[in-house]
Symmetry: C2
Subunit: 513 residues, 2 copies
């Protein structure tokens, strides 16, 4: 795992902004805002142009067109650019570098420009023909013709297109923030590097290779991830980590053919019952994982992380109502606290059929699909070992392929385990100098202490940066939480775009000793 | 439940055949066999004629054509016949009565003439165009043209058609047995009544009504059921009961919409986990039902039943190999013993999806389909009460419809239960005079003690006779176990038809004091 000691030993010069920094941040914000107000149409127009390019990661031709377009956008701003890729036939990442004379520190800003497929039904307009609308979809919402817009835009307007929020919006915010600083004559305090990935939505299959291959030019004192949404309360938040993930398909077996439940029930083992008992042995109803040693590798939260968590708002009452929940797991623990622990989620169950399709028969097998969410310092491989040790200690014989009849006959308890050992968690300590500097800069531009999530419950492969580059990674997202990312009618609320411009500009300008 | 005391008090005169009876039975068998050998082509031809009539229960026109045809077959033999039905627009049963001057006892022989639908793929000839073939389907099996058959038929030949075994074959065996007795000048010892049902494969929805409406003419000292197969060893068996059945669809709930398992895992309750724990609370892995009081209504086996069971052959070793079972439930108990107890079978599980279709999400609900097999003196209603008491005692709120959001919010543990309270078990005591007389008559004609199953593991509605008519009901099946009943290419092995003729003739002739 990442060696934070090594990293912390650099004596990073990024500053936790004091009072003077806050004043400075206020000034920067005013100037950036003034620039934005004067250039809204231009900024939205540039975003619309980028959103017009199809960008599903598995279409290499489309991804290359996006990369060319982004390269031009960066070069217009004076970035020196390069295409970084693992090989000639894999999706490229776009790299841009803008050195600041005299700057001692370097920060890489990460976003991805590929998007999820958009084949789902329900898009009310072409996913790659961006449309500006007067608000979230619903009664009264209207299309707005960008060409005819005069003066200031309503910040509740939204731009609808695939990747509007995830992540083309943040890319445009980064560049507009830089334009604004330049227009105001404010020099960045850091060397700025942009790393724009082209296959994040495909699971970043070549990211580690790219990072390793180009480690030298990607050298930096911190990475800022611009991916992800702000808090559901619309408040700005910073995140310092994300849970890891591993998947497991688990199959247990009954008779070779379905058996009449009258003639054989109570004698031929019922795999659905077996599976129920097996699952009950893995996890209780409060979310506690019962596999011996499962929590041994869990790195406890430190004081800074605990304090940050305590500062996050309660969302439980409203969420329970929204989701129709009569209870929650964890004996009343808050949502945000609960996702700091590892979890075992049963994604699905399948055995024979239920309802109208059910036959009075003993099924031949039963399957559960499971995902594990991991926290530092668990690894998928160790989780696999723990699960398999647990099952073996309970008499299970484990196989990875569909067993033949001889294997079924030989083992009273037989399970097929198909693992997907995805990736571990990552969590940058909140009290590293870089962490504190980023937080202070964001606090200063927002004008109040923003929410700080030590770790997201969901999984993004932050470990690729932390493990490969041994660098602090901090998420500073800007897009609205209700942006429908991955779904139909993805959108970006203009106020979030405006906020992003100010926050990223503040990071460019304010991370200075 | 059935009052056996009332019934036993009749002092039934049916005789447990002694030595003299056995000798007599041998003679009857020889004469019936000689008749059959001389009339094989005629008997198979009559069966083929009956099998040519479509007989799916829900086609009232077809069922009426079968009823007419059967009425003629009975009247040709001197039966006085009647159509018995619950109403004008429900499938008729065919009733025939043949009184024997001087006979004091009356036995009803039951079979059904409707058949399962035959729409499945894989029939190698029209289900309602009977074909004689040289054996079970497989390499080398040949069609045989009945018209060209000379002399004796190979007893391993089989006649293929829907209902060949289930139950048109037994109907023809009953009538051929009677013809054989007549040809030999042997007078029946009993009044013979035939009750031929026309909608058994549809769940006998009007059987109780018909039995109640016509209780007077159906009065008898015993019923013999001709439905069902002989033992897998091809040995003749008698059965005295059948388990009852009840079905339950059980649904538990998670969030109103699928939730990202990273962002909400460990907090929003996972219904698949909840269901697993719930099922594990109902039944252990050895088949033992953990619901308090579940076994309270179980009538213990009496000595005669225990003795009969002990006489049934072991089939476990071969079955385990055939079914690929590495273990069996019940800590090594024999199959036949295990089905004497009630069982809880999970027919199927369903929650979201598994494998390729699985999403990293907390499912909205999870469903299990369950069947209970009941034994005397359990009732479906009592089973329902026990299950619901158990769940309520564990904090479950139970509903019968899909709950609305308010209901979901109000109840931490919420389950939807959809019951199918089918019917109770029935078990005629083996030591009743009627039971002993039937067994003795069959033993005598077969020439050795036949297998006696106190109860079938599967469910047939024997309770309709026992509960409605308060009469002993004993199953004397004749068809081969590998007849593919309900499936494709249903067939009847000729040796089983020949055996049936001898056994039913023996019952007509040998049940005498």
């Amino acid at each position: 795992m990442t060696s934070w000691r090594f990293w912390g030993g650099l004596g990073l010069a990024l500053l936790a902004a004091g009072r003077a920094g806050a004043v400075e941040a206020g000034k920067v914000r005013e100037q950036v805002r003034a620039y934005r107000v004067a250039h809204e149409k231009e900024i939205v127009g540039e975003l619309a142009g980028l959103l017009s390019l199809k960008n599903v990661a598995n279409d290499l031709g489309d991804i290359r067109k996006n990369a060319d377009h982004l390269t031009q956008m960066l070069e217009r701003r004076g970035f020196s650019t390069r295409i970084l890729s693992a090989s000639d036939d894999t999706p490229p990442a776009v790299y841009g570098e803008l050195l600041t004379p005299g700057a001692k520190r370097t920060v890489v800003f990460y976003a991805h420009f590929d998007g999820q497929p958009a084949g789902q039904k329900g898009w009310i307009s072409d996913p790659w023909k961006p449309v500006l609308r007067s608000g979230p979809l619903g009664p009264g919402v209207k299309d707005i013709d960008l060409a005819t817009v005069q003066g200031s835009m309503d910040p509740e307007w939204r731009i609808y297109a695939r990747s509007a929020s995830d992540d083309k919006g943040p890319i445009v915010a980064l560049l507009a923030g830089l334009d604004a600083l330049r227009a105001a004559g404010i020099k960045p305090s850091i060397n700025i590097k942009l790393f724009l990935e082209g296959e994040e939505e495909d699971g970043s299959p070549h990211l580690t290779q790219i990072l390793e291959k180009h480690a030298e030019i990607l050298k930096a004192d911190a990475w800022v991830l611009c991916d992800g949404p702000v808090h559901q309360t619309r408040k700005m938040q910073i995140y310092y980590g994300a849970r890891g993930v591993a998947g497991l398909e688990l199959t247990v077996y009954g008779p070779l053919r379905p058996l009449h439940s009258g003639h054989y029930g109570n004698w031929a083992p019922n795999p659905a019952v077996t599976l129920s008992h097996l699952l009950a042995s893995l996890r209780d109803e409060e979310g506690k994982i019962l596999i011996p040693g499962f929590y041994d590798e869990v790195r406890p939260l430190n004081d800074a992380e605990k304090k940050a968590l305590a500062g996050m708002p309660d969302v439980e009452t409203g969420l329970k109502r929204e989701l129709g929940l009569g209870r929650t797991e964890g004996n009343g623990v808050r949502l945000l606290d609960s996702v700091m622990a590892p979890s075992l989620n049963v994604r699905g169950l399948r055995s024979a059929d239920v309802g109208e399709g059910a036959a009075n028969a003993i099924p031949t097998d039963a399957q559960a699909s499971i995902d594990f969410r991991l926290v530092p310092d668990q690894t998928p491989q160790k989780v696999r070992e723990r699960v398999e040790e647990h099952l073996r200690s309970r008499g299970w014989h484990l196989v990875s392929e569909t067993p033949d009849t001889a294997t079924r006959l030989a083992h009273p308890r037989l399970a097929r385990l198909e693992w997907s050992l995805d990736y571990p968690a990552a969590r940058t300590p909140l009290d590293l100098p870089a962490s504190r500097a980023v937080a202070a800069a964001v606090d200063a531009v927002v004008g109040e202490p923003v929410l700080k999530a030590p770790m997201l419950g969901g999984s993004v492969p932050m470990y690729m940066f932390t493990d490969t580059l041994k660098v602090p990674v901090i998420g500073v997202p800007m897009v609205n939480h209700d942006n429908n990312q991955h779904g139909i009618n993805e959108n970006l609320r203009l106020q979030n775009l405006w906020d992003g411009i100010e926050v990223y500009a503040a990071l460019f300008a304010g991370l200075e000793l």
